[in-house]
Symmetry: D2
Subunit: 137 residues, 4 copies
C-alpha cells in the first residue's frame, strides 16, 4: 500500500514542483509535507492558496487510494477548501482521511497545518469526493 502510494506520488510532477513529499501512509489516512518556498508564495508573502489546496487535495486523494484495489485509481470529483488563516511559516502538513469509502464515491477530508517557530497552526480544512477509476494499462 505504502509502496503504491509512494510510486504514484513520485510520478506527480506537480508535487516535485511544489517540493512536497509523502510523510506517512496508513489505511485511509495519508500525510503530505511541503516546505513554504519562495516559488509558492502569493503577493503578500504568504503561501499561495494553490499550494495549500494542492497538498491537501493530494493527501485526500491518496488516502482514498489506500482503500482501492490494485486495478483502480482515484480522481478528485470535487473538493472545497476553507482557509482559516494566512499561511506563513516554514512547513505545511496535509493530513487526508477517508470519511466514507463507498463503491462509487469516496468522501474525504483534509486538514492542513502550518509549522512556524515550532508552533502548529490549523490553516485550512477541506471536504471532498474522490471517484475510483479503472487503471489505464
Amino acid at each position: 500500500m505504502t509502496e503504491r502510494v509512494t510510486r504514484s506520488f513520485e510520478s506527480q510532477n506537480m508535487m516535485k514542483t511544489l517540493g512536497a513529499t509523502i510523510h506517512k501512509v496508513e489505511k485511509g489516512k495519508v500525510t503530505i509535507i511541503a516546505p513554504i518556498l519562495p516559488s509558492t508564495l502569493q503577493q503578500h508573502g504568504y503561501a499561495h492558496a494553490g499550494l495549500t489546496f494542492s497538498i491537501g487535495d493530494s493527501a485526500a486523494g491518496y488516502s482514498a487510494l489506500t482503500m482501492m484495489n490494485d486495478d483502480q485509481e482515484v480522481m478528485t470529483a470535487e473538493i472545497k477548501i476553507n482557509l482559516l488563516a494566512p499561511v506563513d511559516g516554514e512547513i505545511l502538513t496535509a493530513e487526508g482521511k477517508v470519511l466514507k469509502n463507498g463503491k462509487r464515491l469516496v468522501v474525504v477530508s483534509s486538514e492542513i497545518h502550518s509549522l512556524k517557530d515550532r508552533k502548529k497552526n490549523l490553516v485550512a480544512i477541506m471536504q471532498g469526493t474522490m471517484i475510483p477509476v479503472a487503471l489505464k494499462t
Copy 2:
C-alpha cells in the same frame, strides 16, 4: 484597475512557477491563462487539480480586487471546485467573475476551460467567497 491587478499578479511567485499570465481585466471579471507544463502534471499525464485550482482561484480573487478601493486587498475565505473532466491539452484559461459584491463578502465564480487541438472544453467550475482586507502598508 488593470495596472493594479497586473502589478499584484506579477508579485505572485506561485503564478510564475505555474507559468500563468493575466489575459484580460474588466470590472468584476478577470481571465488568467496558463500552459499545461510538464512540471504541473499529475501521475496520469493530466494537468494536476492544483494547477486548475490555482489559476481558477486567482482569476476569481482578481475579479473581486477590481471592485475594491485602493486601500483594500482580497483573500480567499473559501472556494469549491467541481472537476468535470480530466484536463489535457495545451492551455488552460480561467475566467473569474464577481457574482455579489458585498461590503463584507464578495461571492465569486470561476470557469476553467482547456484548449486542445483548437477545441475549448469546460473542465472545472468554482464557487467561492473572497473577503476584503485592509492593505498592509
Copy 3:
C-alpha cells in the same frame, strides 16, 4: 419528461410541507417555486436557509433527472450553497441546471431568486453533484 418530473415531485412530502411547486421543466433545466410561508421562516423573520436549500437542491436534482433513462433516478451526492442576502419577500424561485451530464456524475447548479414588491433578487447560488441510481422496482 415533464410528466415524470411532475410525478416524482408530487410524491415528495417535503415539497408539499414547504408549499413548493414545479414551475417549468425543460431538458437539463427545471424551475421550482415556493411561497415564503410563516412556517418556513427563521428567527429574524427571513426565509430559513433550509427552505432556500431545499428548493434549490430539488431544482438541481430534477434538472439532472431530465437527462436520465426511465430506469434511473438521481440522488444528491454533495452540494454547496452561497447565501448572498437575507431572504424576504413573497416568493422564491429556484432554477436548476445541468452543467455536465457525465455517465457517473452529473454536475449541476442552481440559482435562487426572491420576488419582493415585483423585484427579482438573486439570493443564493448552488453548485453540486448528482449521481444516477438504478430505479427501485
Copy 4:
C-alpha cells in the same frame, strides 16, 4: 448561553415545521435532534436532503452563536453538504461545531447521524462559514 440559543431556536418556525429540538448546548458545540416525519420525506421514502441540511446548518449556526457577544447574531454565508448514504430510520441528530472563531468569519462543521434500530449511522457532513451580524433591536 443555553438560554439564548434555546430562545432563538424556539422562534424559528422552520425548526417547528420540521419537528426539530435543541438537544445540547456547549461552548462551540450544539446538537439538534429531529424525527424523520412523513412530512419531510422525499420521493423514495428517505429523509429529504433539505431536512438533513436544515438541522445541520442550524446546529452549525448555533454552535457559532455560543461564541458571540449578546449584541451579535450569526448568519450562514455558505455551507456545503456531502451526503454519505440515503437517510432512513427514526431520528436524525446534527452536531455543529466551531472550528475557527474569527472576528469576521466563523468556520463551522456539522455531522449528521441517523438512528435506525438503535444503530447510529453517519449520513452527512457539512463544512461552512457563519458571519456575525449586529443584532437588530
